[in-house]
Every structure is written in structure tokens, then in C-alpha cells.
């Protein structure tokens, strides 16, 4: 399972898929606010989480992993959550 650098690149790619036009010129950093600066609304976040599941071939709910979308405020939060989910998924599978 990939972590860190490659993981960050993949998640940033997934975020980029869902950024509405008027926010496209913002260059995301770890501190960038997902909603205010990148325009990802609640449904945009749900779509992003599902794309994450598809890309990494996991089902977060089936693995019994809790994810609170309301707490994911920044790109950094999302990267950390992605890493945590994959670590938990790896430990549950093994």
C-alpha cells in the first residue's frame, strides 16, 4: 500500500477533479481550506471520499472505519485522514 509522497500526489489529484471552476487557480497547500478556498461543498466531499475508495479499492464502511467529513477542513486534514484510513485498512486486511 502506498503512503506519503505518492499518496499525497494521488489525493491531490482526486481533490483537483472536484474543484469548481472559480476555485481552480488556487494552488492547494496543507493549510488550504477545502470548502472556503477550494469550493468543495458537502456533496463534493462525499464524491471525493468515494473516489478515494475507488482508487484505493476499499470500502470504508465495510472495514468499520469511522470518517467524519465535517471534521475534514483543510487539505492537510484530508491527507492525514487518507493516510490513517489506508493504515487501518492495511491492518484490518492483514
Amino acid at each position: 500500500m502506498e503512503l506519503n509522497g505518492k499518496l499525497e500526489e494521488k489525493i491531490l489529484g482526486l481533490i483537483a477533479e472536484g474543484i469548481p471552476g472559480k476555485f481552480k487557480k488556487v494552488k492547494p497547500t496543507h493549510e488550504t481550506n477545502l470548502q472556503k478556498e477550494l469550493g468543495l461543498d458537502s456533496i463534493g466531499m462525499l464524491a471525493l471520499v468515494f473516489r478515494f475508495e475507488e482508487v484505493f479499492g476499499i470500502d470504508i464502511a465495510q472495514l468499520g472505519i469511522e470518517i467524519n467529513i465535517a471534521k475534514l477542513r483543510t487539505v492537510g486534514d484530508l491527507l492525514q485522514a487518507g493516510q490513517d484510513i489506508l493504515t487501518q485498512a492495511e491492518s484490518k486486511v492483514s
Binding site: F23, A47, V49, L63
Partner: protein, 536 residues
Amino acid sequence: MDLRNLTSRLSQRRYPNVIVTFENGKVVRRTHETLHTDIIEACFRLTQWGVQAGMRVGIWACNCYQWIVYDAALLELRALSVAFTDDFAGRSSDDLIEKYALSLLLVPATEARHKSGRQADAVAFLDGRNEVIQAIVRNQTEEDPEFENIGLVFSSGSTGKLKGLKLSRPGVEASVDAFTLVAKPRPDDCLLLFLPISNFQQRLMYYSALWYGFDLIVTDPTRLFRALKELHPTILIAPPMLYETFETRFYNLPKWKRMTATMLGNILLRLPGKSLRQQMARRFYKEAYEALGGKMRFMVTGMAPIKRSTLNLFRLMQLPLFETYGITEFGGVALNLPGANRIGSVGRLLPGVGVELAPDGEVIAVREHRIASTYFECEEGEAEKTFITRDRVATGDVGRFDEDGYLYLIGRKKEMIVTAGGSKIHPEIPEAEIDACPDVARSVVFADQDSAGLVAVIVPKNLQDHSARTRIQQFIDTRNERRPALTIRRVLFSDEAFSRENGLLRPNLKLDRKKIGERFLRTDQETVRLEVARSA
């Protein structure tokens, strides 16, 4: 339809319809026959707990199978359901039981904290083991031999304050029947519900599925995209935000891919033969079709205005998205349909619905039975203002019809502006004209008290591109020449998009004009005063 016979209707079903839910991460399918058995068992439990006809029973839970089972069981027992929405988060069970005179409150087993209150015996788990449960017996003041009032629901008003509505059974039945008559669901259809079923619109839809016999997927929003892709629904009802997510993804494709897809879509639209067009569209827009499960035949949106560009994109992709209009107090009013769809309108009136346009253009919806008989909780005077006669509801929306009977919503009556010159203007008219500028994400127009004209607050699509502001100004100057009666005399640019977080959109994602006016007109040291034409 007769909701009093909903349970027995399920037992007569010939087609093996199912209800699909996600439970502990797994897909669970139950037939209508199983649902029928579960409802009968729930009736038995409720009766054992002392629930009788006319008692009020609260349901306070997220979307789940048991919500539907107990809702149907309460209908069967002729007890009144009281559906608590997310707006009640943080309230105690004792508080709700006392305030709404409940005899029983049903909560999920994960909310065990509600069993520690003074009224613990009147709190039962929807899905867990229950020991001592005793419904509270209260004096019933209203006789209801025909079970006309089936429950209480809550709805967020345009001000964000909760309104409580008394549900009328004949009104609910009329609304379900009207939708079903025109949408013509088939036994092999499958409706996906993901918004909270404590919001009554969703319950209307599952009443339709259970009565008329088609499949139902009930999930919470976190499983929405998985449910779409993997459970292959054929009917979807969702707010514009969902469909706009697809548009965003389309516009984030590499430019060459997007332009090719657009070009091919435009060629497709000119091809003769619907089935050939659809076959080709499935191939060209494979990803969008797959994301929607591949079997979608009827998607509906309402609740807030949808962007014209989103509707156009779905049309380009030959994906059947239709705009509708309804209000909680009344039920569905109008709906676009395959073969009777006019983009920009909310469709033709549903069967049994009439609309009168008041002299100021307000849509007065007319139907023999409306969904809500009245409010039981609202601001003073609101019930009289809304329920103007037994069969008429003042919607607060201003509309017009075209010559073919399609209804177009122009704006909210209370948002009509009066210029210093005394002209009454619906701001949505100049806003739609300004929004046609490719550089504009959104505009909001106010009366400009100083100049007897109008002032526009504009969010550019690209907030960083300052040259866009010059182009927007030029666009408005050209427009002003064409529309002298609606001249925009001043333009104020916003450096941020309107959102719920910055308070410039309401919780229902509609513009909060008052706050936008306060923010931009005052921060700009303007003396513009907003004249709001209040209803007489």
C-alpha cells in the same frame, strides 16, 4: 391511495419488490413481504408498550430500515408520527417528550443516552433490545375518526427558523398520487433516497414506492455515490448540488477531452432516432453513466434553483434530468417530464393542482387537499399569510406561465426591490441577464437609493483574474444600453464566493440577500438602503 391500508397493500404485492439498505457496511435486501411482517411485529410491540390511536410517537433517527417499519406501523395503528430532523441535535429526550406531548419516543440503540432521562420508560430503541417501555397516556383533545391528521413534521423556513406542520392524510395521498400518475414508475424501477427521511419530501417518495410497488434504496449521504454506482437506481431525487458535482468533474477534464465530448454531444443531439442517440451517448459519456449506475431513467431536482449550465450538460449527455417545484406546506406543484420538458421552467402543473397568479405575480397553489393542514409552530401571523383559504396556499414565489402552460419561477415575492424612483423590480430578472456573462459566477442586484437605479454585487468566476472585472463592466454597459429600464448604475465586486460558511447563503443554499446587502453595500460605505417590498 389510502395510507390507512398501506400495510395490507404490501402483503398483496405480486412483483418481488425490495427495500435495499446498507447495514454495517453490507447491502441488505428485504422484500415487501418481509417489510409487511416486520410492520406487523412493530405494531404488536407498540401496542404492548401502550401506544393507541391518536397518540403522538416521535421518531428521532438517521435513515434506516426501522424508520420506515415504525412509520408504517404508526399509520397502521392510526397513531401520529412526529419526525425530528437534524435541527434537534443537542436537545434532550425529556425536552422533546414534554414539548411535543409525545407518548413515546423512538431512537436508535446507538443513542442510549436518551434512556437516562426522567421519561426513560417512554423512550424505546428502534433497533435494539427494549425492556420496560410504557407509553405516556395523555388526554386527547382532538377527535379524528377518519385519521385525517397523520403526524407532525418540521421544515426549515426561508428565514432558517423551524416551522412545524400538521400533516393531512388526504393531502399526502393527493401529492403522492399526482407525482406517480405523471412519473409512471414501473415495478422494475428503483428509487434512491439519501436525504434524511425525517424531511417529509423523502417520505412521500417511499410511500409511492410502497403503495404503487417499485424498489427502494434508502441510504445516508455517506453511501450516496456507492449506492448510485453499485445498486443501479433508475429514479433519483436530489438537490442541484449533486448534479453540479457532475458538471464540475466534467469541466475539470483536460481541455481537449472536454471540448471533444462537447462537440460529440452537440452532434448527437442532431441525430435522428432516440435509441441511437442514447446508445452513442452511453459510449461517449461512459464515466458519467457508470457513476450514476448505468440504469438511470428519471432524475429530478428542486429545492433550490439549478444552474442552467448543469441542465444543459445533462441534456448534452442525454441524461434525463428534470426540474420540479413544490413546497412542503402544499406538496408538488409542477414537474418537467420526458417529452414535456422546457429547460428554465419547473414544468407543467401536476394533476389536480391549479395555480393562480396574484396581481403581484405570486404563485397561489390550489388543490382540494394540501399536505399540511396548518402550522402548529411558526412565527405569528405566518399561518394566516400562507394558508389563505381551505384549498389555497400562498407560496411566496413569483412566477409566470408560457403559452404552453410551463411555469417559470422569477423570484421570491419578499425579495422584490423598489427603486428610489418607485419602480418594482424582481432582482432575478437583471441577475439572470448579468449571469449570462461568461466571467460572472453569480450576481445579486439591489436598489441603489442614490441613483434611482440598480446596483449589482458580482462574484467573478475567477477571483484572481482582475482583467475579468473590466470585461464584466463592459458586458454590463452593453446590457444597460439594451435595458434602460433596468440600468445597473454601479457594480461592486466580491473577493469571495457566497457560501453557507460566510453566511451569504442560507442553510438551504439560497442567497441571503439581506446579509449580502449588509456586507457589500455597507462595507463599501454606501448609503444605499434596501427597500424590500413586504407583502401587504
